[in-house]
Point group: C2
Chain length 251, copies 2
DNA sequence: TAAATAGTGTCTTTTAGACATTATCAT
DNA sequence: ATGATAATGTCTAAAAGACACTATTTA
């Protein structure tokens, strides 16, 4: 960050700051939006909010909003605030995806949005979403054919792309499941986030060899029929782990 | 992007926009900074600018500055503008790294910076840098022990980390070299950006099998002594290529 | 011919893919 | 016993690591 040529008329930084007027220059409208993903009804879903204020009133949008300079200590804090407002929970995974800016994104003027992506298990959000009324989970493919507000379709695609890419070399899907979960559960989560089928043996080897899960000793109580699956819980290590080869693509 | 509760007092979006005052809410100061990397004297170097205006006058900083709402059509345009101002060239590689925001980054107030990373061959920038006087190339390790302006050390580390990570699965180092270049040149570039030694055979196999380079038919004119190296030029395909395995780490 | 640098051959290691087989549960 | 789902065994394939070897240049 440097600034416009305002040069040497001040004797000290304190003197400069004393006269500095933050409204001297036009600033972009700055906001934070969050693409919140989860699994529901065996589908990858995203949480959208129906706008009840102008502009773009009535359209579905990613949860988000302006940075609150009084309350937000960071961009991540802004993201967490907007996420909690709609879901009622703190997401176990939240990561910044990218920022988008331009004069035509928002009719109010030049605007800049920092896009985050969040993963969480859906079930703890359902009671709160019921209450807020303006939010609901949408299957991703349905969300992508809606007329979303602003350029939110582009943002959603960017977040979905990041999700897919990272699923190929991390254990991110762990964060859309409620623990404890089985390896077949986890494989299904990987397949939905990757949008590709995986070989059972290769998948299990990869996860087991990485040592990211802790065996709970439990097994799935009532599957219907078939052998019960062992239940696991993610270890703290799973948060940072990166594999050195990509999963599931031809490449 | 949604907005603060300002609700239903307007009959249409046009009416809402007509009364909308962009100065009604406090906005973050928004800027774009660029970590510009190249190879010079067989070292990874970064271009820094000495601030001649408050705040942080006299400290070295990443090139960058405020978004100009009149001139900039996008964040990338802002980055390119500031990059060209200091280097005199357009970078063959420019990518967004991350955004940073908070109340204490800048003494003027809550500020938000979008960080970009650029790669370019250093030689074409040298005459222009000579002219602008306030910019110079710094070896990265020296830059990291300077007292940089604002939180630019943190930004620089984030960009360097991105550079290292992507070098492990792309052909990014191609963009710090002047074409044509030899495979030993390219291996050296990879090693400097990765900060790790590479096996010659494995490296050549990887690059050759990927088909990212075009043989110019030339060889290096005057190496000193030793067998001359064949010279290559990157194909357009090298821009997007991603390898499915990581280079150079134990993992 | 010696030194230096470029470039190749080839064996090992790691990890994913394919797919057959065995294990454990409900009915 | 049958069917269903979980879990394992084992062979193959792709690509990186190790490192010895050959090739081409200048002095």
């Amino acid at each position: 960050m440097s600034d416009r040529p305002s040069h040497q008329q001040y004797a000290s930084e304190a003197e400069y700051l004393a006269q500095y007027d933050i409204h001297r220059y036009e600033l972009p409208l700055s906001s934070v939006d969050v693409a919140i993903f989860s699994l529901l009804d065996s589908q990858l879903q995203v949480l959208l909010v129906e706008r009840d204020a102008y502009p773009q009133r009535g359209r579905w949008a990613l949860p988000g909003g302006f940075v609150d300079l009084k309350r937000d200590d960071s961009l991540e804090a802004t993201a967490m605030r907007h996420l909690a407002a709609k879901t009622g929970v703190a997401a176990p995974w939240l990561e910044q995806v990218a920022s988008f800016g331009g004069p035509d994104r928002d009719p109010r003027g030049w605007s800049l949005t920092v896009l985050y992506m969040a993963l969480l298990p859906a079930s703890p959000t359902l009671p709160h979403i019921e209450q807020v009324r303006d939010a609901r989970w949408w299957p991703l493919d349905e969300a992508l054919v809606l007329q979303l507000a602003f350029d939110h379709r582009e943002l959603l695609l960017a977040a979905r792309e990041r999700l897919k890419n990272k699923t190929a070399y991390t254990a991110l899907p762990v964060y859309v499941l409620d623990a404890p979960f089985s390896l077949p559960d986890l494989q299904t989560a990987f397949e939905l986030l990757l949008d590709a089928p995986l070989e059972k043996k290769a998948f299990r080897r990869r996860i087991e060899d990485a040592g990211l899960l802790e065996d709970t000793g439990l097994s799935r109580p009532s599957p219907g029929r078939g052998r019960p699956a062992a239940l696991y819980r993610p270890k703290a290590a799973s948060r940072a782990h990166q594999f050195s080869r990509l999963l599931g693509q031809e490449g």
